[in-house]
């Protein structure tokens, strides 16, 4: 069994949460955040994880080697608001052992 990994998530109110995420359930970061209810339902993962709404945008503050950005994610971020150089869509970051220690801040709701 794959071990859980630890993530540091700062929610939209600025509160830091240190949480454990499974790596064997094909979960992505957006889904982990929803499973811990760190953002209000209906304000995150609206498109379900298809990189089509940017409601799961977050800023990645650690130096992890992230999965390469797909064209869909890149173009969605091109139309999202509050975008920074370290913006990613949470739904496109899969939970793998390499993501252990990932630090992210949720982008404002828009």
């Amino acid at each position: 069994m794959n071990p859980d990994i630890t993530l540091k998530i700062t929610d939209r109110e600025g509160i830091l949460h240190e949480i454990q995420a499974p790596t064997d359930m094909a979960m992505n970061l957006m889904e982990v955040i929803r499973s811990y209810e760190l953002a209000e339902e209906g304000t995150i993962g609206i498109c379900g994880g298809m990189a089509m709404c940017a409601s799961c945008q977050c800023y990645v503050n650690s130096n992890h080697q992230l999965p390469e950005m797909s064209i869909d994610e890149d173009m969605m971020l091109a139309e999202a608001f509050h975008v920074e150089n370290n913006s990613r869509l949470g739904c496109q970051i899969q939970m793998t052992p390499a993501m252990d220690g990932l630090e992210v801040v949720l982008a404002p709701e828009s």
């Binding site: 339902e41 209906g42 498109c47 409601s55 091109a78 139309e79």
Partner: protein
């Protein structure tokens, strides 16, 4: 006034299937949706994406699911009020309801079924500090009447199909069209991208990329927009209209003020029985409701719609006896006079 038995708010898959289940009980339905077409998210967000968990469909495109549902409910002649948002609800003395849309269309129904998904789709507004001061004073998030821009200077912002399509369309109407996008790349249909390129080469569209509108200039109305291109100095472009087209996002909206119990941006219902809300006669089905163990799945919405219709029937006809009948046994009698039924067995003697 539009009158019906069940008024369904939201024409997504759950709302559409409700028409079928209601039709089996000889109840008529009318649907309201803020979008200009039926299908909800399936049509608006991901029509070309496959769904794999609709029973008996190993794979179906979301757009095709909508088409199939429309076909399935056709004989029950649902009415539609599209492009309007349900705004207010008034319970009448006889326990019926009048629902009025943002455009003033009134609907009178015995039962209200809210199948509103994540809410009605509203344009996403860019976070420009003074933008709300200029709404309808030169800032429009939706183009309602293109002629409104006749001989006006127009700035469009966005990188998707609607930004491209409207930029193309307005070149024939407006005095000038400027398209601003944060990237040099656009994700619209290839045809549209090529057409914009052509119009740019012909000097009919001014493109400013990679750039972003940071502010709006004007006193009583839009006179210009402040633009930053490629991280450079802010500059102003004169314009009469600024049209940000950044897609739509769902908001629960006015329904949140109908006196219904809301939890986690969803409407609480009684899932032990019939998905009724805290207001008798108002039901909530599909993604818009919540109860312990709720799953936002289309197939769960179908189930909820089915139970809700049985309860609606009992509410409308409390004294009538009824038991559920299989469609294979009873066939389907449409309100349009059509009848579908299982073929009769053929009996023939062998000599």
């Amino acid at each position: 006034m539009i009158t019906t038995d069940i008024l369904i708010i939201g024409a997504g898959p759950t709302g559409l299937f409700t028409v079928f289940e209601a039709g089996l009980l000889k109840l008529r339905c009318h649907l309201i949706d803020a979008l200009p077409q039926a299908g909800g998210q399936c049509s608006e967000i991901y029509p070309k994406k496959p769904i794999y968990d609709i029973p008996a469909y190993p794979e179906i495109l979301a757009g095709d699911l909508t088409d199939k549902l429309m076909e399935q409910i056709k004989q029950f002649e649902p009415g539609f009020t599209l492009g309007e948002r349900a705004e207010t609800i008034e319970k009448q003395e006889d326990e019926t309801f009048i629902v009025t849309t943002n455009k003033g269309t009134k609907h009178h129904a015995k039962i209200v079924a809210i199948a509103g998904g994540l809410g009605s789709f509203e344009p996403r507004k860019p976070p420009i500090p003074n933008i709300t001061n200029f709404e309808d004073k030169g800032v429009e998030y939706i183009i309602r009447d293109p002629e409104y821009y006749s001989n006006k200077k127009v700035v469009i912002s966005g990188g998707g199909d609607s930004a491209l399509d409207w930029a193309i369309f307005l070149t024939d109407v407006a005095a000038s069209v400027t398209l601003i996008h944060r990237r040099n790349e656009f994700r619209g249909a290839l045809d549209s991208v090529d057409k914009v390129q052509e119009l740019k080469n012909a000097g009919k569209i001014t493109m400013i990329t990679p750039a972003e509108v940071k502010g709006i200039v004007g006193t009583d109305k839009v006179e210009g927009v402040a633009v930053v291109q490629n991280g450079g100095e802010e500059f102003t472009i004169e314009t009469d209209h600024f049209i940000p087209l950044f897609g739509l996002s769902p908001k629960l909206g006015p329904i949140a003020n109908w006196g219904l119990e809301i939890e986690k941006n969803a409407i609480k219902v009684n899932n032990a029985l019939d998905y009724q809300t805290n207001i008798p006669g108002i039901y909530a089905i599909g993604d818009v409701n919540t109860y312990p163990g709720k799953l936002k799945l289309i197939l769960c919405g179908f189930h909820e719609a089915t139970l809700m219709c049985q309860s609606a029937y009992k509410r409308i006809f409390p004294d009538k006896k009824y038991v559920m009948k299989y469609t294979t046994v009873g066939g389907i009698d449409g309100f349009d006079g059509t009848r579908k039924e299982a073929p009769k067995a053929v009996v023939k003697k062998i000599e």
